[in-house]
Amino acid sequence: MIAYKFLRGDGTGVFTKHPWPLPAGGAPGRWVEAPVVPCRSGIHACRLTDLPLWLGRELYEIELDGEIVEERTKVVASRGRLVRRVDAWDDALRAAYVDDCVERAYALVREAGPALAHWEADVAPQPGEGPAMLGFVAARIAEERDGVDAYHAERARQVAWLAERLGL
């Protein structure tokens, strides 16, 4: 199964900080094995629809194999290897995504009028806040306006935006 994985800038896992064998010279990285034990072990990856929830610095396409368990917002597998770096996910696209989410957030707040006025101060990105945060803000505002379905609709919109520009 093909899925996606974000890593830190130094090629290590976001939560585990384990170094991942990276693709090189057009060839995929080595296979990594980790038995699937819920919450304890396994290789974590996300489907296209989960992308906005896990936005990180570096994006890779990952091939999963062995035992594969689909959870609500991610996939856990016993075998995985990084196939290629998704080069389109770069600083410029990250900034464009942030801008788009901020624009969406402002639009949602303005349309809602006084009911969401308390968000005015919080829509502008603070120093250090990146794509993951601003995506969350937009979805959260949508949820506050129109409930959980609106949250998921906003996330789906983010997926479509990302998929188109990343060529996925």
Binding site: C39, W54, E71, R72, T73, R140, Y151
Partner: protein, 85 residues
């Protein structure tokens, strides 16, 4: 006043109470995913969880307290006598 809690997120205030459960792998897969999603966008909580990890590491490096001299002597004597009784 509307309740502004979201089911799609845990708050930072919840994170600092859930951190031990997370590190002990006692959260359900869904709860752990929410926890990690939050850490993914919230630097403050990411740093807090790291602070807890470093607290654990510091505890693991604590030096032992000295055993009182009289106790040490008594125990060593008893240990020496072990074979002889």
């Amino acid at each position: 006043m509307a309740d502004r809690r979201s089911d799609q997120d845990v708050t930072c205030q919840e994170v600092v109470e859930l951190v031990t459960d997370y590190l002990e792998r006692a959260l359900s897969p869904d709860e752990a995913a929410l926890f990690e999603q939050h850490l993914n966008f919230c630097d403050g909580c990411d740093w807090y969880v790291d602070q807890i990890r470093m607290t654990i590491a510091a505890a693991g490096r604590i030096e032992e307290e000295d055993v009182p001299a009289a106790m040490r002597a008594r125990l060593l004597a008893a240990f020496r006598d072990r074979g002889r009784s």
